[in-house]
Structure formats: C-alpha cells, structure tokens
C-alpha cells in the first residue's frame, strides 16, 4: 500500500511537468493555432538558465523561478513577432516546421557552449528535507512541485474564466471572427499569450532543474510525450490537456512500477494509451470533433 501511494505521488509529480507543458501548448494553440515544437527546447532553456544563473552569477533558485519564465516569455514574444507571426495566416504545418527548426537551433547553441554532459543542480535548502505523511516520507521538493504546479494550473484557470482578459482570450480562441466583429482587438493578445505559454514552459524547466539532469537534450524526447498527452486530452481543451498531463504521469508511474517485467510496455505506455484514445475518441478525451475530413 505504501509502495502504491508512493508510486501514485511520483506519478502526479511527473504529471505536473506534463500538465504545465501541455497547458502552455494548449493556450498557444487556442490563440494562434500554432503547435509549438520548440516547447521542449524552452523547457530545457528554463532549466539551463537556472543552472547558469546559479553557477555563474550565484542567483538562487527562488530568483530563477521568477527570472527565467519572465525572460523566456519575453524571448518568446520576440520570436513570435519576428517569425511565427509571419506564418500564422498559412497552414499551421508551416509554423510546426518553423518551430522544429528553432528547436534544432536552440539545442545546438546550448550544446556548442556547454557540451552534452548533464549538470547537477542542488535542491534549494529550504526544500531539501522530507515531508512525513504518516505512512511514508516524501521529498519536500516533490511536494512543493506538485503544489506549485497545481496552483499555477488553478491560477490560469481562474484568469481564463473569471477575468476580462481571460474572457477575451477564450472568445478569440473559439470564434475569432465574431470576437473581432464585437470590436475587440484580438491581434493585441496574440503575442502576450504566446509569451505566456513559453513562460510556462520555462517555469516547468526551472522546477525540473533540481530533480532531473540538466542537459541540452532534456526537452527533446519530453516534447513528443507531451504531444501524445495533448492528443489524448484534446488540444483544443485546456482542461483536457491538464487532466491528461496528470493522468499520463500516473499511468506511466504505475506502468514502471508494476510492468517492470515488460520494459517495452512500460516505456511506450503513453503511446499505447494514445492509440486506444484514437480508436475510441479520435478527437481526444475532452476535445471537440473536428470538421470531418
């Protein structure tokens, strides 16, 4: 039982990363119809930035947790203005290709400067202990990640549903022409929303730095799993993306714990789930049906 609870908790923690990344992807997709391949690269930049700030400037984790998302958000806005913006009127596949190219560039720039080896990042001292849950102990840092990610998801949900900005963004997502017809300047929100999504990826990266190995390729394979997550949840649905993120984290953790005799299955369980969802509900668990094609 203790083992099961521990696995569940670990699953929720890795699900928190999927959820944060999927949330950023979904917000960007909703507003711009862009699937951002470079999301994994920005996650990596978040972690790497935190590492570089600590080792070269002595900036602590808590400061990096603010600096990196904001800095990367601004970088994302600049990239949106410089490149992505030019292609949003075309087929979304072009921006997919563009961000794929950006991914290769960002990865290799970091590789060129810092090499491919992994660097350790110390857990912030305030969170280095464990939390006693009665029947088992859990690293305090992981409890923090879970709580923090949940708070961010709830915060984004609150902004989207309870504020005027959120209403504009949701309206622009669902009916861009109609929203424009009401006299709302939809274009104004495109760049900030893109920057916000990138900021979430950077935030996930900073959170990952003390827990996972920091290296230039840490976001490369992760982004493909996140793509599977958003296909499962339904990319058009923000709630679906977050729920699928946590769900896949759980399924993966359970798979690794109880199917360890079949490493092929436990390694690919995300994609098996995706195949089942495509058979059963092609639009994703929480997605709406596309126009038939």
């Amino acid at each position: 039982m203790t083992g099961f609870l521990q696995n569940t908790f670990n699953g929720l923690v890795s699900g928190a990363f999927y959820a944060l990344l999927a949330l950023g992807l979904a917000v960007i997709f909703g507003m711009l119809r862009v699937v951002n391949f470079a999301h994994g690269a920005f996650y990596m930049l978040g972690a790497f930035g935190a590492y570089v700030l600590l080792t070269e400037a002595g900036v602590p984790f808590w400061a990096a947790l603010v600096i990196m998302p904001v800095g990367l958000g601004l970088l994302g806005m600049a990239l949106e203005r410089a490149f992505i913006h030019r292609l949003t009127r075309l087929d979304p596949l072009y921006n997919f290709l563009l961000t794929f190219g950006l991914t290769l560039i960002l990865q290799d720039l970091v590789k060129l400067r810092y090499g491919v080896q992994s660097s350790p990042y110390a857990t912030p001292s305030a969170l280095s202990g464990t939390v006693d849950f009665g029947i088992f102990d859990f690293p305090a840092y992981r409890v923090f990640i879970l709580g923090f990610a949940l708070a961010v998801c709830v915060g984004v949900w609150w902004v989207l549903t309870r504020t005027r900005i959120g209403m504009v963004v949701r309206a622009a997502t669902e009916r861009p022409e109609l929203t424009r017809a009401f006299g709302i300047d939809v274009g104004r929100w495109v760049t900030p929303v893109f920057g916000f999504g990138i900021g979430l990826a950077g935030l996930a990266g900073v959170l990952a730095a003390p827990m996972r190995a920091v290296n230039p390729l840490m976001g490369a394979d992760l982004i493909i799993v996140v793509f599977a997550v958003v296909v499962i949840g339904g990319l058009g649905s923000i709630f679906g993306s977050v729920a699928a993120g946590f769900g896949i984290g759980l399924v993966q953790a359970w798979g690794e714990a109880y199917l360890s005799a079949f490493p092929i299955v436990s390694q690919t369980i995300v994609f098996i789930v995706m195949a089942v969802v495509l058979l059963w509900r092609p639009a994703g668990l929480f997605g709406r049906e596309e126009a038939p094609a």
Binding site: D108, K111, V225, V231, Q267, V270
Partner: protein, 338 residues
C-alpha cells in the same frame, strides 16, 4: 481544411500548379529532356562525388519522394516516417546478416516490414488530419524508437547492427562506386513507382482528397481507405530507401529511428518543393551534400545549420527549388505565347 500546397498567400498569385499539373502542362520534349538530364546525372554522379555520398543521396531521394507522396499529393504531413525508414533498415540488416541472402532480397524484406508496420500506424493516424496527423505519426515513430531501444537482444541497442553484408551472387561490391550502380536500378524502380502512383487514377483521387476531402467523400470515395493505402505505399518506398541505407552504411544505429530523421525528411521535401515529387530528389542532393561538407570541414553543430535551413525555407522559400523553377519556367512560357 486547406492543404499545405494551396496556401492563401499563394492562392493570390497566378495559379501555381502542383508538380502533377506542371508535368502535364510542360511540352513533351521538355519532359523527355528533363528525364534524359536526370538519368545522365544519375549515371554520372559517383564520378563527380564521393561514391558513398552519392549512395546516400539515392537513399534519401527515395525517402523524400515517399514523404512527398503523402505531404504533396495526399495533404498529410507525416512527421514520423523515420519509423518506416528505420524499421526497414533494421529488418534489412538482420535478414542480410543472418540469412545471407542477396541484398536486394533483404531490402525487399525490410520494405515489406515497413509497409506492414504502416498499416496499424496509418489506420490510427488517418483518423486525424492536419497538425494532429503530424503529432500522431511523430508519437508513434517515437514509440517504435523506444521499442528498438529496449529490444536489445535483436537491435543491439546503442551498439547498433554491425557488419551488414553487401551480398549479391558473389560480386565484390565493397567499393561504394560499384555498389552505387548496383542499387541505382532499385532506386529508379522506386521513383518510377512513385511517379506511376501519382499519375494513376488512384493518385488523382488522392489529389482530390487533398484539395477537398468533403467533396471526395460526397462523391463516394472511402477517404480513410485511400489515405491509408497511400500511407502504406509511402511506408514501403521509405522502407526501400532505409534498407538500401543500411546496406550502404553496413551499419544500423538507433539514429535511423530518431525524430530528427523524420524531420530531416520533411525539410528535404519542403526544400525541394512540396507536391513536385522530383523536387524531393533535388532536396536530398542538396541536404546530403551540405551535411557531408559540414562534417568534412569539422563543424560540430550541424543542427544549427539544418535548423537554420528549416527556418529560412519555411519563411522565405516555401515553394522549394523545383516549385520555384517550375513557376518561373511556366511564367516565361506564358509570356512568350502572349
């Protein structure tokens, strides 16, 4: 859902036909002349380049044409074609190593394995279109990658399959120069098959589905089944390329299944010109030569250059080499006729 070929920006310009129509519109002698030039270049290639590079160009040409068959002529962007290229490379390598059969038989076995794998992946992927299709194929290709990585008893994991033989009735093909001419007929057959598919009534239906899936469905065409058939054919042709690649390098590593390989195939097609078929062959030549030159000059960050090409081509050169040349030639011809 508009196809990637007919972008709104392009629609405003004078109609730029896809490769299919370009070939149909160019006068017969132009087509035969281009064909003759192409064959002459193919026959001459290993005399002007390192033969090993020429072999790579042939393999990548097949890969690119396979991807364009879907992207340009069916309107489906597969971002996971490394699954078929790589699966065929592994199967070809295993058959060649363990069965000692002539290499074309091994390559055929590899390509068939790729086509078989394309059935379930295609069946699931064609349930989605557009960007989702790209993500789904990418995810399934990553699944194949993980399986190959875990199944070490067969794939040798990180070490890769070493010593894939180039057996062909006792002929000595160790020199890449002779090997090039041994595989050239297979590659030309593969390219001709792709051309035939595009020209056939089946190919016309695919283009119809690309341009207006709802109308194709209303006319009674089973759209999913057509897409799936195109997907499997494309997987087979990509598999031909991957199998030859394995024999050519005498080595198969996990790289053949990695998502960067899938992405490279797509950019080769975009650089050559989506929906032009032969553009992919040109794109393969350019990219393989460039990468060879970069690694020869000792430049480490190849991703920086390929990524840069990606960004530049997508931003500035969406018609690709063949598409731009065809548009230019057609405009010239139209001007002369006036």
């Amino acid at each position: 859902m508009t196809s990637i070929v007919d972008t709104p920006a392009d629609a405003a310009r004078p109609a730029v036909p896809s490769g299919l129509v370009t070939v149909a519109r160019a006068p017969g002698w132009v087509r035969y002349a281009l064909l003759a030039v192409g064959l002459a270049v193919a026959l001459w290639l290993p005399n002007g380049l390192y033969a090993a590079v020429a072999v790579d160009i042939l393999c990548w040409a097949l890969f690119a044409v396979a991807v364009d068959l879907l992207l340009g002529f069916t309107g489906l962007m597969s971002f996971g074609h490394a699954a078929f290229w790589g699966t065929s490379a592994y199967v070809t390598g295993l058959v060649a190593i363990h069965a000692g059969l002539p290499f074309p038989v091994a390559v055929l076995a590899g390509a068939l394995a790729a086509a078989v794998l394309a059935v379930p992946i295609g069946y699931l992927a064609v349930k989605r279109t557009g960007i989702y299709f790209a993500m789904v194929t990418l995810a399934f290709a990553q699944m194949v990658y993980y399986v190959a990585n875990e199944w070490r008893s067969v794939t040798r994991g990180e070490n890769g399959l070493q010593g894939v033989p180039r057996e062909l009735f006792g002929l000595d093909l160790t020199d890449d120069y002779y090997f090039y001419y041994a595989i050239l007929p297979i590659v030309l057959l593969g390219l001709a098959a792709a051309w035939r598919i595009v020209q056939s009534p089946f190919g016309r239906v695919l283009v119809g589905i690309r341009d207006n899936p709802a109308r194709a469905r209303a006319l009674g065409y089973p759209v999913h089944r057509y897409k799936l058939t195109a997907f499997v054919l494309s997987g087979f042709i990509a598999g031909l390329g991957g199998g030859l690649f394995a024999v050519g390098h005498r080595f198969v590593s996990l790289d053949v299944l990695h998502w960067t390989t899938s992405g490279k195939a797509v950019i080769v097609v975009v650089l050559g010109g989506i929906g032009t078929l032969w553009g992919g062959v040109l794109g393969a030549g350019v990219v393989v030569l460039l990468e060879d030159w970069l690694s020869f000059s000792g430049f480490e960050a190849i991703g920086l250059v390929t990524g840069g090409i990606f960004v530049l081509v997508v931003l500035l050169f969406r018609r690709g080499i063949w598409g731009s040349a065809a548009a230019l030639a057609l405009r010239r011809m139209a001007a002369r006729r006036r």
